[in-house]
Subunit: 415 residues, 2 copies
Amino acid sequence: MSARTAIPAVGLTQVRHAAEIIRGTVLRTPIVPSPALSKLAGTSVALKLEILQATRSFKERGAVVKLASLGRRERRAGVIALSAGNHAQAVAYHAARLGIPAVIVMPEHTPFTKVARTEALGARVVLRGADLAQARRATQDIAAAEGLTLVHPYDDPLIIAGQATCGLEMLEDLPELDVLVVPVGGGGLISGIAAAAKALKPGIAVIGVEAIGYASMRHVLGRGAKPKGGETLAEGIAVQEPGRLTRTIIRALVDDILTVDEPAIERAVAHFVESASLVVEGAGSAPLAALLAHPKRFRRKSVGLVVSGGNIDSRLLASILMRGLVRTGRLVRLRTEITDQPGVLARLTRVLGEHGGNIIEIYHQRLFYDVPVKLAEVDVVVETRSAAHVGELLAALEQADFPTRLLSSTALKDG
Amino acid sequence: MSARTAIPAVGLTQVRHAAEIIRGTVLRTPIVPSPALSKLAGTSVALKLEILQATRSFKERGAVVKLASLGRRERRAGVIALSAGNHAQAVAYHAARLGIPAVIVMPEHTPFTKVARTEALGARVVLRGADLAQARRATQDIAAAEGLTLVHPYDDPLIIAGQATCGLEMLEDLPELDVLVVPVGGGGLISGIAAAAKALKPGIAVIGVEAIGYASMRHVLGRGAKPKGGETLAEGIAVQEPGRLTRTIIRALVDDILTVDEPAIERAVAHFVESASLVVEGAGSAPLAALLAHPKRFRRKSVGLVVSGGNIDSRLLASILMRGLVRTGRLVRLRTEITDQPGVLARLTRVLGEHGGNIIEIYHQRLFYDVPVKLAEVDVVVETRSAAHVGELLAALEQADFPTRLLSSTALKDG
């Protein structure tokens, strides 16, 4: 891209300087082994817990380095950032701490909870633009009109040097790491981590992970087709226009970028809850999803996963957990045909109970089902032990003369 | 209780020895500040993250110290433990690691997932007894018949010394702590922590927390009425017969035991997810519940919360999250009276949409509602922004001639 050599703008000197700046104000997060996820992935997994930061993501690292670089006049005038997510919260939180006024621009129709959360941190939130492009223009306009300094979410050497401290800490704490697996959105986190890690340990592999609908870094580096966008659980890395500076660093230093699909991300979020007691957002779960999707690639390595953020909507999380129970055969919906007579429902529920099925919900209706008028259908939601147990229940119902279909999409293989 | 002095059986020497024994096999868990929970509780909160242990609770500390104390013959014969919870998993995991055969006794009717999880760790699970008393007798019988060493969950100086390492680490990492808040079941964790902490820093306060239905330690120490039992989210501390050794230590060293009710525990579990990205079981959430119930008591202190375990059923967690949304006005169920004509439902849903209500579910039925035959009632589950927003929606519906009642138990006060 330029005449400069491999690592433009961000070297170990900048990273160590950034580490000095954030000391005491950004948490030096722990990196912990996870035997349960290691077993699941068939390798040795350590988790860098950026979810433990005050605003629950790594974004504070870069934001603090950038804010600390401002002169007195810039601080007095204030800063501006375009983000409805973790970057917004990181800038708002640390600007407030430093007494710097902060404006955060979010597109119109941003969910109210995101607005409220950022306002609660002391920032002025401005809703502008029907989409991100319009909001970006509004950000530039407001910045120019009010003389504010823009805090870019990734395409700034100071931001990158800040995010790089995450990689520095990982290798200081666990020098034996062979591979770092890092989510990729705009590319700030991975370019920083790669700059730090490759300087400290040239033999280490740094692997990026993108959501398949937003594999735009892979695309601009000529390693994949133009992504299609769409809905994704990994909002934090759903970036259509990756950084220019970050892509140069990534091209030079990152070994590969993998993609993961939505079901894989969803399963990873559930695994973090069920096997590691951690609430991890979609973007932060992408590295685990990649590990589980490409087990051979990581076998017998010491793998450091960057668990980058923990901001996930509670309703979404609840629904991921319930869907996980359905997927693994611990919750099923059965539709049973019964004769429409008193006592039959009692017999049906007894059969289920005797075979260890715990009834959660039951729907008994006959108007709209496609059955003869003397028959009725009952839908039962049952808590089960495993996919094998579901098979047992179906067999028991069949034997008791209750023809039953499984309505939920449970794979009737092993538990 | 005896002629011995204040700290029977467990002193700093034993605790430091236990710390040596567990080094490298039990995680030295991080203790991290939580600005969000600090703000919520109006004080300074640090979290000791025992949920990061391999089996997701502190129980491994004591189990490892006990297992390490066994002679060659005892190891060959094997160990036995009575538990369906965290103690079972801790013993199973470390016995397997050390090549010691382990039998885990659980009462009959223990949920299958608990059996499966412990078996997966390599233990032989034996289901015996309709209740805990019967299961305890069965445990003694099997231990005698097979020559197994009992690993008691709390009433053993080695177990207590093991749990004490948790307190040792807390004060090593954050010597400025003023108060430690610790869940109390059988009393192993708090008696260990108190022994370590009071020896290192006599001025520190150690406060226990019990679920109100199982405040049996408070009771046996003469500080409260006999608890009533019943259902509790805090299964891990639902102990009816607290330890004899532990109660002696607690009487001597623990400053107070607070109780928390079920709604407080439920809210604390939700707060951990929403404000700290952590999955914490009911027992482990009891200290946060106590902090929020007694804010004055902890104001302007440096408070260390022992986040003791992270094993919680996914369905239960999902339901706690959804109930939290209802409680805080972010999810409501409305019942609206409509005239039974084409187009009316479209108008109703438009009013909701225009005022920012996101419809999640809708039930339109007229057979069973107590309304005139030309009217019908519609139940709508709506995602809302806050309790104030619910009020806005209700007013908007009223104004549009849709008389509406709020069916969910949302407090229509602040958001």
